[in-house]
């Protein structure tokens, strides 16, 4: 499903959770939604899933409004950290209800996933561990095959092998049944290769929306003698820097052209990549200005 959001504002009382978000997400891609705690990730996903009515702005999914529009919301699935499955009964009951609610439900796939995640269908969801409840949410999210599927930190409590299983299943099922997927996560390095595009929000605003590779290409570390680093990076957007004795390393945001790369080499400066997580940390630093 295609998502168009324009000047979206969401307030709870006098708290502004979303402060003018404008965003277009195309159909059929996997998006990473990154942001610090309290940045507005969950608020944004909740508005897209029609769990909350927005205060101002425009939200369209496949060209139609989502709030109180069941024709659209039956095709949207938002899986939150513990899942909304807690009070329903046993794992089996959860699958039964999901089948009722979800037009594209694949029961065979859901049962296969229960086996893979080693969830006992007879067990009451309330008595499951945090990781098992997360797995339950993931199973419902994947087997629903909703044209817009959103996972909001759906890995909490899962150990590394279970998270790997989640990512592998997500990728395989997405390739077999392409759909729009949005994943919010704090485990950036672990999943970023799955994303086609990355959206970073901070204090209720979008600070970056790029193809994953393009975003990575924008971050460059410049290392060398402090004076040379300073003169090379003058006028560039420097996200942060660290010094060790006479050596300085600065993180620059913005693509360098061939002439700049040659200039750096001639000045004895070393250029290197910045990991997605470091870019994220600097783009969402408290004193960081929006792009």
């Amino acid at each position: 499903m295609r998502i168009e959001v324009e000047d979206l504002v969401l307030r709870y009382g006098d708290v502004t959770a979303l402060d003018g978000i404008t965003l277009t997400l195309e159909e059929g891609k996997i998006y990473g939604l990154l942001g610090r705690n309290g940045s507005g990730k969950t608020s944004l996903l909740s508005v897209l899933a029609a769990f909350r009515r927005h205060t101002a702005g425009r939200v369209r999914v496949d060209g139609r409004p989502v709030f109180e529009n069941p024709q659209v919301t039956s095709r949207i699935s938002l899986i939150r950290d513990v899942g909304e499955t807690v009070d329903i009964g046993t794992g089996e009951d959860v699958l039964y209800f999901a089948e009722e609610l979800r037009p594209n439900w694949d029961g065979d796939y859901a049962r296969a996933l229960m086996d893979m995640f080693q969830i006992n269908p007879k067990q009451t969801v309330k008595n499951m561990s945090k990781g098992q409840r997360s797995a339950m949410g993931i199973i419902v999210g994947l087997a629903s095959r909703a044209p817009l599927t959103m996972f909001d930190e759906s890995y909490l409590g899962l150990d590394a092998p279970a998270r790997q299983l989640f990512y592998d299943q997500l990728l395989a099922d997405y390739m077999a049944h392409p759909r729009t997927i949005i994943m919010s996560t704090h485990l950036i390095e672990e999943v970023s290769a799955l994303f086609e595009e990355v959206v970073i929000i901070h204090r209720g605003r979008v600070v970056a929306h790029e193809e994953r590779d393009a975003l990575l290409a924008k971050g460059v570390s410049v290392t060398g003698p402090a004076a040379q680093v300073d003169s090379f990076t003058a006028g560039m957007r420097v996200l942060g820097s660290r010094s060790l004795g006479p050596t300085k390393s600065a993180m620059v945001y913005g693509e360098l052209d061939d002439a700049q790369r040659r200039k750096a080499a001639d000045a004895g400066l070393e250029l290197g990549p910045i990991a997605m997580q470091d870019l994220f940390i600097h783009l969402t630093a408290e004193d960081g200005a929006a792009v």
Binding site: L171, M175, A193
Partner: protein, 119 residues
């Protein structure tokens, strides 16, 4: 798996090129699909598709519509010619610079090369 120094798609392209150079992938042989690459390396299929597109642009692979990607018949020769072009700049010049910096006389290098040639 990947070192993040260059984009993943470029690393995949390099790996396929290395397989063509070594003869592991032969002319007109079909390569794995974008989805197979994506699942194997745990990456977004659009990223894998970029690697394939780069190789098509360079003439290493060709596309058969609806069937998949194949190695160009002249891919190996094309890659070898390209490597020959840059061999001195990429391999010999840095070696000479390193030898000078370390204090190894160039005639020692020449002697070594002649020894290797004889084996």
């Amino acid at each position: 798996m990947f070192d993040d120094r260059s984009p993943i798609y470029r690393q995949i392209a390099e790996r396929i090129k290395a397989e063509v150079m070594s003869g592991a992938l032969k002319g007109d042989e079909q390569v794995m699909s974008t989805n197979q690459y994506a699942a194997h390396y745990r990456i977004n299929p659009a990223t894998a598709a970029k690697a394939f597109q780069q190789l098509v642009d360079e003439g290493v692979l060709y596309k058969k519509r609806g069937i998949g990607m194949f190695v160009s018949p002249d891919a190996r020769e094309r890659l070898r010619a390209k490597r020959r072009e840059s061999f001195f700049a990429d391999v010999v010049d840095p070696m000479v610079a390193e030898a000078k910096a370390t204090g190894i006389p160039l005639r020692d290098i020449i002697r070594r090369i002649e020894e290797l040639e004889g084996t």
